[in-house]
Structures are given as C-alpha cells and as structure tokens.
Symmetry: C2
Subunit: 721 residues, 2 copies
C-alpha cells in the first residue's frame, strides 16, 4: 500500500500526472512530468518562496531550469511517448521513499525502445535532484541520448529569469537572475554514464545546454547513467560545485539510502493505517505523503495553497495552512507546526502595512501571503467570460477573517503544545495587533448595543461584502478573548511581558476597549429552526435548488459569485456556518450542528477543496460517519483522480490541494477515530461501515501515543519516542 501506480499513456492526463507524481520538499518542487517533457507539457522545477513579478503580471514563484531533461534520439529524431507508439507505460510513486519512476516501451518502425528512469529530490540537501535513466532497444542501432539542462521554462506570468548564461566546465551549468529582485538562480548538472564506448558532444542553444551521447547500441543491451543536479538560489558557485562533486562521488544508491532514512522516520510518526477499506487506506496515505512533502524548511516558510506544484495561486499561503494543515503537524511534527506560526510572526510588518493602506490600525494579514507577509492578491481575480473584462473581487480587502484564522492557529498551537514561549517569540504581538485591527474594522452599533462587523467576505466567496458573517464574528470574539486569556496567563506567571508589550505598543486604550466590548461582539442567533444565518439577510436571498441554479448558466466557466448567478441566492461555494461550527464546536449542541448541516449541505456547491472536509468532520460529530465518508474520499482523492478544475477562463489554476489532504487527515483522525485532547487524550470512534480498524501515531505534550481504534474496542498506548 505504498505505491501509486498508473498504467498507460494518455495526452489528456499529462497535466494531472504532473501533479499526481510530484516529489520534492519546500525548497524545491518537481512536477511528475516525464524526462522528455518540456514547456508545453508543463514541466516545473519550482522554487517555493522565491517570488518574482514581471510587468503587471501576477507575482508568482520562480520556476528554475530543468536538469531532468533526457531523451533518446534514433535515426536523427527523438523518440518518446508523445511521438512514438506507446506499447506500455507505467508511472509509479513510491510514497515511502518519495521516489518517482517511469517505464515506457515505445515502438517506431521495426524497433521497440524501453526507457526507464527514477528520480528523487534529496531530503538531506537543500536543492539536489538525483535521478537515473536507462534505455534499451530490441535492435542493433546507433542512438543518441540527449541529457542536459532545459532553459525554456514554463512560466504563467512572464519570463522571470534573465541574463541566462550556459557553460561547461566538467559539468553543465546554467545561471541567470530573476527580473524583480535579481536573485541568482544556478543549476549544475553532471552525469555518470554506466556504459562504455560512447562519444559525447556538447550542445548549446536556445533550449539549453546538453550532452549528446552517441552510442552504437547493441540489441537488448541496457545503457544507463545517473544524473546529479544541484540548484542554487543566491549561492556561491564553490559551495554548489562542492556539493555536486560530493554526490557524484557517492552515487545514486548511497544517496537514496540517506534520503529514504529521513522519509522513513517521517512515516514512523505520520502513517495512518485503515483496515477494511484499501481505497481509503491508500488515499489517506497519499494525502499524508503530500503533507510530508510540504513541511516548511525554515522559519520564513509556511505552506502555499498549491504546495510546491507550480506557480498557480501565486505560490502564496492562504488560511488553508492554519485551518486545514496545521492540525496534521501538531499531531506529528512540531518543528513544522512552529514554523507555520513563525512565518506569520515574520509577516506582522506586512500585515500592519496592509491594514494601514486601508485606513485601519493593527494587523490585517495577507489573503495571498508571499515572502514577509506581502499580499500578492489583486483586486481583480476573475475574468468575465462575456465581456473578457476583469471582475472586481473582494478576496483581498474584505476577507478579514484571515487575521482571526491566524490567531486561532496560534491558540491551537499553544493549547496543544503548552509552548507559551511562542507568545514571546512574537505571537502575543500578533494577537494584540489583530485585536486592534478588529477593534478598528468593526463598529459599535449604538441602538442594538453590540459590536458588529460589516462589509466582509466569509469563507463562502460567492457572497461578497456581507454584514455580520457568523464565522467572522466568532473569530473576532475569540481574538478579543485570547488577548485577555494571555494577559491572565502572564499575570499568573508573574511575568511582566504582557504589560511590557502593552506599554511598548501603546495598547492601554485598546485593552480597555477589549474588556468593554468583548461580550458585545454580535454572535448570530440560533434561530427557532436551530439554524444560524450565515450573515445578515442571507435568509432573504433566493432559495433556489443548486442544480436549478447551475442550469441557468449561459457559459460553462462563468463566475457565479458576486454579481454572478449565486450572489443573490442561498447557494454557497463552500462551508461557512459549518466551518464556524467545527472551529467553535464547544459552543454548540449536536442538535444545532445537525440542523445546520441539513440546512446548508444541500445549498453548498463544494466549489472549494476547503468545503468537503468541514462537512465530513461535522457529520462525524453528529454520528453520521457514512455521510462523511464520500466527502472524506473526495478530499483524500482530489489529487489522485485529478477531478478538480485545471483551468479557469483559459488560465491554468491546477496543482495539488494540500488543504484537501489536511482535511482528509483531520476527518480520519478527529472525525472517524474521534480523537480529542480536551480532557486528556481520548477517542470517540465513528467508523464508517467499510472501516474495520484505524491506527496511527500521535504526539501530545511531549509524549508519543499509538492509537488503535477498532469497531469494538479502542486502545491508546504511550510509546517511546
């Protein structure tokens, strides 16, 4: 159950396979494309958190040069899956070791060629891609293996690397600088041919720099080589050269061993085993594979919404990370969990700048956060299919819940770890500044004697500029309460840090106001029907059936939100009230959750991968795991099946969906096995019919536990770490 395997070749699947078979880590994403693929097939060697902007295009992560390019040339013409007759083709992801392999048998004329390769991105090193490539033919024939560094990079918004220089000095080298910030991007590559009798020529052209290895191939003889590539971002050439010679010396297998050791350690604490349902077992493991890939590698990193799978969503970090991914790391990898928090602490100046630009005090975090918390989100994110004009969207300026999501994550981190030191590392300052922002953004309604938050967008992005979104308002109240909770904490510790911070930030008045208004934050009423209105006036919106609404579409890709078809209806894009109920579950009864689930689910498009898992989690809470199961599978398999939007209005928006992976993990652990930590570690299983057993490892407060949940009996045992 460790292998993801796909047989057969279909051009239609090229984009999806690129995401499905991704390898790498948070400093280097390598899409699961084939050796012979190029720009048109969306090869990407992505450098997460290295951003660049060209002209008015969207600011996005830089794609580096591609050192994985290899192809076989016979009779003067390349032979590959795109132009040959594919007899068989198999692509495999070994999740245990994070290695991608392919094996293709291709026919042309009277000969068949077998191409095999494997690749991994070393988890030991900063940016090192190691691969092996082999070819054999069922005929004696002259062949050329062309391998090198492809510089014809696939970019969505402009050519990011300029001044590209090619050179050969015992290895192939390409370097160039990024357009906006002048980052030096270097790629060194060398190969170790494991065969004799060949002639090597160097080829330099607009496509890159390549070795052309001419071989008089013997029938069924295997010609293979290993390839080592190191990619640098603002790094000294000597360092890169040293690294290259070190790995050249060690070779593929020795290096793989070191790499695998690290991956095996990761799996030891992360693997979840589901018995009785192999499809669920593999899908969940595949979700966890993605989360392991995406562990932040430094305190300046968090996790972009499309992971390391390319330039879409501007390579930016959304609330997805805090709400849908952090819980996984809190269970398995506290270093990464902490980095997710530290990234936002580093982003505080950017968040303060953003608030100021809108005339508010405090911290308004980026909706699409790049380095240093810079908001890459634009005011126009969608194109009107009818007029081809850009549509003004409100993700950036109205989705103010982002700041509260971050505080929620900080609180979750502290609650789970009891690591209060993070407060002094900057979290307290963030919390105070977010509270200050909400004090300024919200308003006191004089006659109603309550604190209201007008003109926001909740998680459901179809409804723009609403008032008193139930989700947002709860977060605001939580933020105010957190300020006072941590004031109390430092007081109880006789630590003046809180008061010092109040002094430093001139926060006396704000603290007074928080005390005065925290209980006045308007929390949407539970109606007689037990349903909670998503925002003021939502119930007055047209109550149309979801399918009926979609039938009104005049264009397949028309935008439904805002002034679009869904905007004045009760149809929502994704979980909103339901997300609020999950995040604040301790405040609501099961009956309330049940009635809201039944009201909102039929009105939800699940048009975001953040939706299904929230419905799945709450479904478990009301003892309907079998309602949860299809939603869980939807989340867990989104990158396996590729059943997600790859294009919007002609623009590529594809990539992996780590929030769905995180949501699947959360559903399995907190939903099906019902894990909770509130009163000590506990499970309250709600297994779907197909599950016999679910078992996993989890960390809590310095201890490691083995959890085994059976239909009849559950065990939680402390393990040695």
């Amino acid at each position: 159950m460790w292998l993801i395997k796909e047989n057969g070749f279909d051009k239609e699947h090229i984009i999806h396979r690129g995401n499905q078979f991704i390898i790498g880590h948070m400093k280097l994403g390598v899409r699961g494309t084939l050796d012979e693929f190029r720009r048109a097939e969306k090869v990407a060697i992505t450098l997460p958190f290295v951003y660049d902007q060209v002209g008015d295009g969207w600011r996005e992560p830089v794609n580096a040069f591609n050192p994985l390019f290899s192809e076989v040339i016979i009779d003067g013409k390349p032979l590959n899956v795109l132009n040959g007759h594919v007899i068989s083709h198999e692509q495999t992801l070994d999740m245990k070791n994070a290695v991608m392999s392919r094996r293709s048998v291709i026919q042309r004329g009277d000969y068949q060629v077998t191409i095999e390769s494997s690749r991994f991105v070393s988890s030991v090193d900063e940016r090192l891609i190691i691969s092996k490539f082999q070819v054999s033919i069922d005929k004696d024939i002259k062949i050329v293996i062309k391998t090198g560094i492809d510089i014809d990079i696939w970019d969505i918004n402009g050519k990011h690397i300029e001044d590209v220089k090619l050179s050969e000095k015992g290895y192939l080298k390409v370097e160039g600088v990024t357009h906006e910030k002048g980052h030096l991007i270097t790629c060194l590559k060398e190969i170790t041919p494991l065969f004799e009798n060949s002639k090597v020529k160097i080829e330099k052209n607009n496509d890159g720099i390549f070795y052309g290895i001419e071989i008089d191939a013997k029938k069924n003889h295997v010609y293979k080589f290993e390839s080592f590539a190191v990619i640098g971002v603002d790094q000294e050439n000597d360092d890169l050269e040293n690294k290259l010679s070190e790995v050249l010396h060690e070779g593929y297998h020795k290096r793989l061993e070191k790499h695998s050791q690290i991956w095996n350690q990761k799996w030891d604490v992360s693997n979840v085993i589901i018995k009785g349902d192999d499809a669920a077992d593999v899908a969940l493991r595949y979700s966890i594979y993605h989360l392991l890939l995406l562990a932040p590698q430094s305190n300046s990193q968090s996790i972009p919404a499309r992971g390391i799978s390319g330039q879409t969503y501007k390579g930016a970090v959304f609330w997805d990370t805090e709400i849908f991914m952090l819980p996984f790391y809190l269970n398995t990898d506290l270093v990464s969990a902490k980095r997710i928090i530290l990234y936002r602490i580093q982003g505080l100046p950017g968040a303060k700048q953003k608030a100021k630009s809108y005339g508010f005090k405090g911290a308004f975090y980026a909706w699409e956060s790049q380095e240093d918390g810079f908001d890459a989100c634009t005011d126009y994110n969608v194109t009107d299919v009818f007029t081809k004009r850009l549509i003004r969207t409100y993700f950036k300026d109205k989705q103010v819940h982002i700041s509260g999501d971050i505080v929620y994550a900080m609180k979750m981190y502290i609650d789970r770890t009891k690591d209060f030191s993070i407060l002094k590392d900057g979290a307290l300052e963030v919390i105070l500044e977010v509270a200050r922002f909400y004090l300024d953004y919200g308003h006191y309604s004089i006659l109603k004697n309550r604190f209201e938050i007008w003109d926001v967008m909740g998680p459901d992005e179809y409804h723009e500029r609403v008032h008193n979104n139930a989700f947002t308002n709860q977060l605001v109240k939580m933020v105010f309460e957190s300020v006072l909770d941590y004031e109390e904490y430092f007081e109880s510790e006789n630590d003046s840090y809180f008061n010092d911070m109040v002094e430093k930030l001139s926060y006396h008045h704000e603290l007074e106001l928080i005390n005065k208004y925290k209980d006045l934050v308007y929390i949407k009423e539970i109606e007689d029907s037990l349903v909670i209105e998503q925002f003021d006036g939502y119930f007055n919106h047209k109550d149309i059936n979801k399918d009926e609404l979609f039938k009104l579409k005049l264009h397949e890709h028309e935008y439904l939100g805002g002034q679009g078809l869904a905007g004045d209806t009760q149809i929502i894009k994704q979980a909103d009230v339901i997300s609020m109920l999950y995040l604040f579950k301790e405040k609501y009864s099961k009956e309330v959750i049940k009635n809201n689930w039944e009201y909102y689910e039929p009105r939800t498009e699940h048009g975001s991968t953040l939706s299904a898992s929230m419905y799945a989690l709450t479904s478990c809470m009301i003892s309907h795991p079998d309602h949860a199961y299809p939603l869980f599978m939807k989340s867990a398999t989104v990158d396996l099946t590729g059943k997600s939007k790859h294009f919007a209005g002609g623009i590529y928006i594809g990539g992996t969906h780590p929030a769905a992976s995180g949501g699947a993990y959360m559903t399995a652990i907190f939903g099906f096995s019902g894990l909770s930590f509130n009163q000590g570690i506990k499970v309250n299983p709600k297994l779907p019919q197909s599950f016999e057993n679910i078992s996993y490892t989890v960390r809590d407060k310095g201890k490691l536990y083995k959890v085994n949940v059976d239909r009849n009996e559950s065990k939680i045992m402390e393990e040695k770490d």
Copy 2:
C-alpha cells in the same frame, strides 16, 4: 415669449413631442400626442398617484381611456400625419394658458385636408379634458369624422384596467376596474358638432366606442366640434354626468376663460423674465410651466420624478422633489410646498415599515415612493446587455440619504416660512424617526472615536455600497442637530410637545445618544488640496479620463455603475460632493467649493438631470456664471430639445424632467440673481454675459417681493399680494 412652437412632422419626434407638449395637472396628465394617435404613438392619459400592479411587473400609475381620439376618414381610409403626405404641420403650446394646439395640412391624391385642434385640462375641475377639433378639405367629398374614447391603452407593465364596459346613453361612456386595488375608472365624453347635415353612427369594438359623423363636405368649408370629457376615479356616475352636462352647457370658450384665469394667477407670482437672452427666457419659462403643472392637488400628493408624463419611474416620488423642486414652491406657492412636506408625513408608517424590514429602527423612506410612502423600487432595476439578466442594484436599500433629504426639506420649509405648526402636523415625529434610523444604521467607530455610516449609496449611483459618503454623513449630522434645535424651539415656547413626543415614542435613550454622538458624526476632511473625498477610498479609484472610459464601452447601452465600467474609477454619474457643498454652503469657503468644482466637474458624466444644476449653482457661488450658463441651459431645455435618454435596454424610460426644471429655476434665482434670505431678502447677482436683466416675484414670510436685477443695479420692492 409664451408660445412653444414646432413646425414640421417627423416620426422620430413623436415620443419627444408627447412630453414636450404635455398639459394637465397632478390628477390628470395628458401627453402632447396628436388626436389621431394611438397606443403605438404612446398616447397617455395618466392618473398620477393611482397605482396598479399586474403580476411581477413594476407597479406604475394607471393610464386611463383616451377621450381625445379623433380622426378623419376619407374614401374609407383614415387620413392623418402618419399615412398622408404632410404639407405643413405645426404644434403649439400656449404656456400662459396651458393649452396645446395643432394644425396640419395633409395631402392625399388630389385633395388637401386641414386639421386643427386645441385642448386643455381644466384647472378648475378634478379631471376634465376640453378640446375642439376642426377639419376642412379643398374639394367636395364625403368624409367621416370619427371621434370617441380609445380603450386600447398604452401600458408599460401590463394591462391595468379590466372588465371594460362600453355604453352610449346620450354620451359615450367607458368604465373598468384596476387589477390590483379595483379602482373604478370611468370616462364620459360628449361632443357638440358646430355644423349641420351629418349622420352619426355609434361604433363599438375592441378599440373603444366612437361616433362616426358622416358629412358631405363642401370644398373649404370648416367642420368643427367641441369635445368634453370627464374622467372619474372611484366616482359616482351621477356626479360625473352632472359635471359633463354643466360643461357641455358652458362650451369650450367659457370654460377656457375660467381655466385661463387660474393659470394667469399662477403666472403672476411665478413668471421670471430674462432680458437680453430670449433663448434662456423661454427655456426658463418652459421650466416654470412644468413646475406649475405639477403643483400637488392634495395632501396625499407630491411630485413624481417624471411628473405627469406617464408611467416611467413608476410614477414615484424621489428625492428630486424635496431638493430640486421644493425651492420653487417655497418662493411662489406655499400650499404646494406644504403638501410636499405633508406627503412625507403621511408616508411615515411606510418608512418605518421599510426600516424594520431591513432590521433597523426608525424611518427609512422609500427610494421610489408611491401612495402612503410605499416603496416601489425593486432590487433589480437594470438589465445586463450582455447576458440579458437583471442586475442587482442598490437604489432601494443603500441610498439612505433619502430620509435625510426629507428632513432637510422640512427644515428648509420651516426656515423659510417660520411655520412651526408643521412640526406638530407630524414633521417632528418624522425627524425623530429619521434620526432614530440613522442612529441604528450608522455605527460608532471605537478606535477612531467617530460615528460612521458604512454601506451606502450617495447621489452618485455609479459607486455602490460605499462608506462615509461625504453627502450622506453631512445629512446625518444635520438630522441629529435638527432634533436638538427643535427641542430647543419647543422649550423656548414653553411647549411640552417635544417632550410629549419623546415620551410617546419612548425616545429618551435616543435623545441621550443624539446628544452624545452628534458632534462625532464623521465629516469627511478637507484635504490639503482643499478637495473632499466623495467616500472612503474614492481617491484610490482609477483616475481615468471620462472620454477614455466611454471608449471602453462594448455596447451602447451597457450599465456603467456597480461592477460596470465606471464602478472602480473616479468617474461619477452626477454631482455628489458638489451637491453636499451646495446644500451645506454655509459650512464651506468659496475656495473649497472652487477646488472641488474643478476636481469633480471633469469627472462627472452628468448622467442624471439632477447633476447640471448643482454644478451651475455652485459655479455661481464661485463667481463663474459663464461656467454655469451652459449647465443652466442644459437643465432648462432638457424637455424642449428632448436630448435625454428615452430608452434603457429597450425599456421606455422617457418623460419630463421636473427636477431639471426646478434646478434651472434655482440656478436663475439663487445662482444668477443670487437671492438669499439668511439676513433678510437680498440679492448678490452673478449674471452671465448674455443677461441684461432678470426680474421675478417671490414670497417670503408672508410678504410678496418684486425683484429686479440689472447688470448695474438691483431692486427689491415689496408688492401688494
């Protein structure tokens, strides 16, 4: 200078002439169409303030049966301007007496027919249309004059009158009932032929009921008749019959005399004479003609935005009346001025109901007010030309300044008349309830320590859902201050009425809050440039040239507001900050007005007839009457030239523009002659170059003044009333 005359016939002008030559009064509007015109030519005998709704169509005033229909039939075929060869055609409006006439010479074959007619709507009676019709031919020939009641009514939204019954009992009679409220609509008509030797047949069919008068016409002999029609709304037949026989007995000329006497009295106190510029003189007189037509006839009436010219704008009353028309009546006709106020007092329950429906206390007045203050405005007022879908507009729910405009009008009425009794007639209750609404709609911004008003639409309708619109916020402050001013007034009078009202309305808490927050209402700052930002963030909108913006249009009739082309630019539909500066001129220096004028005028489309006059008035304030002049002429001539939109997205929206008429009057009196009453009656002339002299009569505080403003010298003399 009392006649409006148009020569020649052009089918393209039919709609415009219908508006241009309108006659009637506030109980009966008769469009200036020709005798032989029918539904297709947009004949309308409109019953203002008698509304009806059919199905989901817009609720609109009812058009009655048309008793003015007459045509000449020769050789079995009607001969008229539409199907004959028009040799000459002249249409005349005698503004002094409110009489419309036409004279047409039409050729067919070897004969020419001359048709003449005149008509007036009696100003003495409730709904009486008196006309005369004559025909002569340059050949001996058999003709038929067909005259009767046309029942094939032009309706924009549905067939409003049902159960139509035709009868003949010594006169022609049609009756029917309205669809929604079952009002009985009756039309009686009788004619007095002033010739002999004819045979009369009665014709009844789907078109109506008619006399067919067969005549052996003699060459060049004139055949004429007078026609008398009475229209009833829920009236006894006996009363209508008596009225008909009374006027039949008196005849056209005697009745015209009585009618003219009333009109001459109106003109005595309303006429304005401009010397040196005949075009301006006539245009202004024509504007005043419209305002005289539109004087409310009862305390349940005000003035609809399209006057009595038909069903467009739902026959509803907008803020146009209070801000652009009331000043005329305050100068000339206090009975009408008071009715304009009383109409809104009657509308208070409707306004409270509207506020409640949105979750607010107090009074939120109708954006499109019909009877009893019912808001006829819908949430969808515009059609997307690209998708043919309705666009959600925010006129009804966000243009909250309407309530403040009404209080502004009440204050204006009291300031000018010192008639404080209106407060006890209900105005005080309105003011208190409007203040209560604003207390509830606006919010206190805690950190900024100010009272803000978010999510509104100002006069400029291109920018939806803005925060702290300068215009709206000033009105809110004014409303709060008015409450306290009138509290002081009653106190100084030792009158407990104010306190009784506070008691009755449970207003103690509100009064406290008004005292607390009135000085905290956020008044937009005067920037260093002396310009005032129209709303929060306006200056961050795209600063594009007006013409450049219009060039981006993909469709002639596309909607520019909201998500349309203008929505995210600084291009505005109509005066907004400039309207605020005019209404609150005592608060701002001339320099501020000047800088704002220069900033905003180039950014204003003047896409509403409420725009030009505000720019004209403020232009005079900064001593640029020659900048004001073209804007004045634009307002004064809009219904003369017909240069206004008649259609929007295929829907007829034409009609007269009384707010432009009112604005033209204001510009002439308060702008060019610079009339003011603040420190006694005074003028401060700013005559445009072409004016030698402007003279007029004006009432103030029970006195009548004759004002004569010359280039060199001005005189104000008290007159006997």
